[in-house]
Every structure is written in structure tokens, then in C-alpha cells.
């Protein structure tokens, strides 16, 4: 509930890395919440996209990567198309995923053998392929 801010924490390495991968400037964010308002899967997210961007800017890495927000993001780009400051929020979500995946210390990937019987046969390959680099609980 309480955080302590110092200049090293604010906009720290983690935030800079997310900005580098996504090519976006998180300081430009108004915190107006337009992205969360328009996100079709926000109902299932622990915190909205605008809040996870806020955590990233404040350098709160554990909190930022601990939420399911960017795993649920279907990159439908509704947020990007409506952001008044022109931030590509979908890229920020992908950058957060990349930061976690590239560290390779998370093991809770979805295991293919665990899929229900016949599920893979019915599933179109496109669903499977576009899901790469995204399947984490």
C-alpha cells in the first residue's frame, strides 16, 4: 500500500527497458484512462492498462509484472487507436511480455499435453501461432 520513491526508482532500468522495446515515452501518458475504458478484455484484468503503465513509470517492477493485464491483452489495438497522446499502448503491453519472457525465469507456461482431448484438432493454427510468446498463466 506504501511505496518510497527516489530518482533511481522512478523511470528506472525496468521502465527504460520497457520504453526501449516499445519505442514509447511513458512520461507522455496523461493517465486519462482512455485505453482502459475501451479495452474489450479489461473486465478480466487485475489492473487496467493505464495503471500498469503507471506502475512501470514509477519503477514498481514486481507490481507491474505481477499482474495479468498484458497476458490478457489480445493486441486488438483499440487502445492505441484512441490514445490522445498517441502512445502505442499495445506495444507497451508487448514490451512488458518481452521483458518477462526474455528473463526466462518464469516456468508457468501452458503445457501442451495438458490441453483437453480434441481441443488442438478443432483449434485453427492461427490461434496457436499468434499465441506464441504470450502463453503464461
Amino acid at each position: 500500500m506504501k511505496i518510497e520513491l527516489t530518482r533511481h526508482k522512478v523511470h528506472n532500468e525496468f521502465a527504460k527497458k520497457v520504453e526501449l522495446i516499445s519505442g514509447q515515452n511513458l512520461f507522455a501518458c496523461y493517465q486519462c484512462g482512455n485505453c482502459t475504458a475501451g479495452c474489450p478484455v479489461a473486465f478480466a484484468m487485475e489492473v487496467g492498462p493505464h495503471e500498469v503503465i503507471r506502475y512501470t513509470l514509477l519503477g514498481l517492477e514486481e507490481e507491474a509484472v505481477g499482474v495479468n493485464t498484458f497476458w490478457l491483452c489480445a493486441s486488438c489495438l483499440q487502445c492505441t487507436s484512441r490514445c490522445p497522446k498517441g502512445i502505442d499502448i499495445a506495444r507497451v503491453m508487448d514490451a512488458l511480455r518481452s521483458v518477462v519472457l526474455r528473463k526466462k525465469d518464469r516456468k508457468d507456461h501452458i503445457q501442451i499435453p495438458k490441453f483437453p482431448e480434441g481441443f488442438l484438432e478443432r483449434l485453427p493454427q492461427i490461434a496457436f501461432v499468434s499465441g506464441f510468446r504470450k502463453f503464461l498463466s
Binding site: 493486441s75 502505442d88 492461427i126 490461434a127
Partner: protein, 289 residues
């Protein structure tokens, strides 16, 4: 006039009916879909991470090879169209990445190929009026909800397919075939896409909202272009029924299946078998078959 055609992996298997009906319709409309000779999967998502050059290679290779065989490349699946077109745009605008990509794929592609979705070909190259003439059995009285999804429209400045908030191209296409287009607010909202693998209940919820909105606005059938969306809003209707008891299933067809039917193709060749919710009772009732 022939158009280079990139079918994409799913159109060879799970969405064979989309591919087949498209080829038959093209034939009826006087042009051929010339499949590019050597193609791979398009990568299924446009890589958003700016430093991910590797994921750009498959679509770049497709573009480069297609350019050697013609000037206009078309696709049917909305996701392939999105990936290839955005990659093409990136190659046109980003000189540095273009060079890196060309070094990797050892080809020299400058981004001068035109990438059009099949619907854009029907509208810009062929023209809906010509389609209207070719319609033998107008789909009179069929209330159809056009579902655009996300990948055709967004990001707006790169796709430029139609207006990002109030697209009308699909509705014009349905009117050309004599059907009654039904506008419903969720036609541009996401179906949950690949979440049906990782978090199926989320995709179910999204699909239910889309279908519910279409039905509430009077749609008897939903028309889609993308096998990914079609899987979610068609196949997952079984999950929806479990969760929402009062839900009445609604058939979901590819736009080329409807076009084939309107142009008088035998309904057996339209691949209705692959559609999860059987459309035949409705089509019989409407007298189209």
C-alpha cells in the same frame, strides 16, 4: 486481370471453405487468384517489439517473393492481411530495418508491392456494381450482421481499410448481394482472438457480447472474414450456450460463402460442413437453397 494470392496456413486446413469459395467466386467474377509459388506462414502477429527483427522475416520473405511474381498481392484472412500490410508499410518507411531485413532474407525488396484484402479487390478493382449484376439469387430478406473485428481496421493510419469507428465497406458488399445489412455496435470490438487458447473464458465472454449485440439488433446471420474470429464466434457458441442458458445459436458464415451462394453456386460446394453452427436450416427457410 489476375491477382497474386497468399492463402495462409489456416486457409489450407481449418478454413478451407473460405479459400475454396474465394477461388470459385473469383472465377465467376472473371479473375483468377494466382497462388504465389513458394510461401511460408506469415507469423500470425505483427511483432510489436521494435527490436524484434526476426519476426519480420516471414512476412518480408512473402512480400519479396510475391514482388518477383506480380504487382498486387491479396489475402483473405484479416490477420495475414494485417501482418503483411504492416510489414510492407514498415519496409517502405524504415530504411534501416529494410536493409537489415534484406540482408537476412538475402533479397532486395523495396516495399513497392500493393497489398489488398480480397474485399478491397471486390470494391476497388472489380466494383460492387459488377457484383450486383453477377448476383443470380439475391439474398433478399436476409438480415446479416457484418463483423469486421480488429485486424482489418486498426491501426487506422497503417491499414487505411475503412473508417476506424464507422466502417461501411462490408455493409455495401452485403447490399450489393441484396441482403439487409444490420449495424451493431460490437462489429468493431475484439472477439478475444488467441485468448481462446490461454484464457478461453475471456474469449467466450467477448464472443458472447458480439453475438448478443448482433442478435439484439436483428441479425439472423453473422458474416466474418477472419478464421480466428470465426473460430471464436462460431465454434465457441457451445461454450456460450453453457454459460448463458438463454442464448440461441446463430450461424456464422465467411463473406465468400455468401457471395458464392448469391452468385448461384451449388450450396454443396460452399463448404457449409465446416461451419460449426449449421446454416442450412436458415438458408432453406430463406429459400436460398
Amino acid at each position: 486481370m489476375d491477382y497474386l494470392y497468399f492463402p495462409g496456413c489456416t486457409l489450407y486446413t481449418k478454413a478451407k471453405n473460405l479459400d475454396q469459395t474465394a477461388r470459385d467466386c473469383s472465377h465467376l467474377l472473371g479473375f483468377e487468384l494466382k497462388e504465389i509459388s513458394n510461401w511460408t506462414c506469415c507469423g500470425a502477429t505483427f511483432p510489436l517489439a521494435t527490436d524484434n527483427i526476426m519476426a519480420l522475416l516471414p512476412p518480408s520473405r512473402i512480400l519479396a517473393r510475391a514482388r518477383q511474381e506480380g504487382a498486387i498481392l491479396t489475402t483473405l484472412c484479416a490477420i495475414c492481411f494485417n501482418v503483411i500490410k504492416r510489414t510492407n508499410r514498415l519496409i517502405q518507411n524504415d530504411g534501416e530495418k529494410r536493409e537489415k531485413i534484406n540482408n537476412f532474407i538475402e533479397m532486395n525488396y523495396q516495399g513497392d508491392l500493393r497489398v489488398l484484402h480480397y474485399l478491397e479487390i471486390l470494391k476497388q478493382e472489380i466494383g460492387f456494381s459488377k457484383i450486383k449484376e453477377r448476383v443470380k439469387k439475391p439474398l433478399a430478406g436476409l438480415k446479416a450482421g457484418a463483423y469486421y473485428g480488429c485486424m482489418l481496421l486498426r491501426p487506422f493510419d497503417e491499414m487505411g481499410f475503412d473508417d476506424k469507428e464507422r466502417p461501411t465497406l462490408f455493409e455495401e458488399f452485403l447490399e450489393a448481394m441484396g441482403a439487409e445489412p444490420v449495424d451493431f455496435p460490437y462489429k468493431i470490438e475484439c472477439c478475444g482472438s488467441f485468448q481462446s487458447v490461454g484464457s478461453p473464458e475471456v474469449a467466450t465472454e467477448c464472443s458472447y457480447k458480439i453475438l448478443g449485440s448482433a442478435i439484439k439488433n436483428g441479425a439472423e446471420v453473422v458474416v466474418s472474414t477472419c478464421p480466428m474470429c470465426t473460430f471464436n464466434i462460431d465454434h465457441k457458441q457451445s461454450d456460450i450456450k453453457e454459460k448463458y442458458l438463454g442464448f440461441k445459436p446463430i450461424p456464422v458464415l465467411y463473406f465468400t460463402q455468401l457471395l458464392g451462394m448469391a452468385m448461384g453456386l451449388d450450396y454443396q460446394t460452399l463448404g457449409f460442413g465446416q461451419n460449426f453452427v449449421d446454416p442450412l436450416p436458415l438458408l432453406k427457410e430463406k429459400g436460398f437453397i
